[in-house]
Point group: C2
Chain length 195, copies 2
DNA sequence: CGAATGACAGATTTCAATATCTGTCATTCG
DNA sequence: CGAATGACAGATATTGAAATCTGTCATTCG
C-alpha cells in the first residue's frame, strides 16, 4: 500500500474511514489505523492530537458531503422558491435514506460518531438551516412566502422535518407510508409559508 | 407490606414500577419484583407469561396516563379548534418536559421500555393522533381548517412536532430556545391548516 | 381444587484478571 | 534537524468462570 508516500492528514483520514467501515465505531482504534497505514501509532498522534480529534475530522468530512450536494439546489435561482424548498427537502430525505439503505452498518457507524461529535453536528445543522434560510429569503423577496423572519421559518421547517433526516428515525424511512408522510408534512409546511 | 392481600396483576404492576424506579430498566428482574412482593417469582409468572409481557403492561400504563390527560383538551368543545390544537400540543410538550425534568432517571427508564415495546408505543401514538384528528375534524366542520383528510393532517402535525414530544429529543427540551422553536413550528403548522 | 412454591436447565449477567489501547516523550533514523 | 519510533503509565476493553436470571413444572399448601 504505497507506504513510501508521505504520511498526510488526508491519508490518515482515508485509512480511518476504512478501519471504521471494517471494524465499526466501537472497535476502531488508533492502533488499527496506524497498522493499516504501516506506521506506528505515535505518527498518527503527530497529525491528530487525540483520538476524538481524529473521529471529529472524519465525521466533519462525512457531514460536509451531504451539505455540498444540497447547496446546488439551495442556490438554484432557476426554480421558484416553493419548488426549490420542496426539492431541497426531498433531496435531503432521499440522500439520507440512500445512505442508510445502501450500507446500514456504515451509516450506523457514522450515526454513532455524529452522536459523539455534538459540535460538528451543530455546525452541520447550521450549514443546512443556512441553505434553507436562503431559499426562504428568496421566497419572501419574490413575494411568494410570508415576510416573517426567514431564519426562524427555516429553522422551524428543518425541525418539523426532523423525522425525515434525523438518523434516530432511520429505521422508519423504509416503512410503507414514509413517502406519503413526507409529502403530507412538506405540503402543510409549504402552505404555512405561503404569503 | 400487606403480604396477606391477594396477589393481583395490579399489585404486581405497582411493585414493578417501584423496582424500575429503584434499579433502572437494565437491573430490574422478575426475581426483584417477586422479592418486593414477598412471593416466589413463579407466582409472578402466573399473572404475566413473560418478563416482556410484564414490561409491556407497565409501559402501557405509563403511556395511558399521558393520553388521558390530553383527552380532556381534545374534547373541549368550548375552545375554537385553532386554540384547542395549540393548547393540546403545548400540553403534550409541557407534560413530557415536566416528566423528563422532574425525575430524569425514571423518564430514561420508561424511554428504554418504550423503545422495547414497539407495539404499545404504536398504540399510544394511534391514540394521540386520534385525538388530534378529532380536533382537526372539528376545525374542518367549523370552516376554520382546510377540508383535506383530517387524519392525514393530524398525522403530519404529530410527526412535525416530534422534536417536542419524542423522548429521543428530551435532552434538548431545556435548552434556551426550546419554547421559541416550539412556537415557530406550531405557528407554521397552524397557518398551513387554516382554510 | 386452584394458588403458590422452589428446584431445575439453559440463557444472561457480573466480576476480576488479563490484554489492549491512549497519549507522552526520550530516543533513533534519514 | 524534523519526522518517525516504540517503551511506558494509566485508562479502557476483553474474556471466561461464577453467579444470577428466566421460564417450566412437578409438588405442596390451604
Amino acid at each position: 500500500m504505497a507506504a513510501t508516500e508521505t504520511l498526510t492528514a488526508e491519508r490518515i483520514l482515508e485509512a480511518t474511514e476504512e478501519v471504521l467501515r471494517r471494524h465499526g465505531p466501537a472497535k476502531a482504534t488508533v492502533v488499527d489505523v496506524a497498522r493499516a497505514l504501516g506506521v506506528s501509532h505515535g505518527s498518527v498522534y503527530r497529525h491528530f492530537r487525540t483520538k476524538a480529534a481524529l473521529r471529529e475530522a472524519v465525521t466533519k468530512r462525512w457531514l460536509d458531503r451531504t451539505s455540498e450536494a444540497l447547496d446546488g439546489i439551495a442556490g438554484d435561482a432557476s426554480l421558484d422558491p416553493g419548488t426549490r424548498l420542496r426539492d431541497w427537502l426531498a433531496a435531503l430525505f432521499t440522500a439520507k435514506r440512500r445512505k442508510a439503505g445502501d450500507d446500514p452498518e456504515l451509516f450506523a457507524t457514522y450515526s454513532v460518531l455524529a452522536g459523539e461529535q455534538v459540535g460538528a453536528v451543530a455546525e452541520h445543522i447550521d450549514e443546512l438551516t443556512g441553505q434553507l434560510t436562503r431559499i426562504v429569503s428568496d421566497g419572501v423577496a419574490a413575494g411568494v412566502f410570508r415576510g416573517d423572519d426567514p431564519a426562524v421559518s427555516a429553522r422551524a421547517v428543518f425541525q418539523a422535518t426532523g423525522r425525515f433526516h434525523d438518523p434516530a428515525y432511520a429505521g422508519e424511512w423504509d416503512e410503507p407510508g414514509a413517502d406519503a408522510d413526507f409529502e403530507a408534512v412538506v405540503e402543510l409546511l409549504l402552505r404555512g409559508l405561503r404569503a
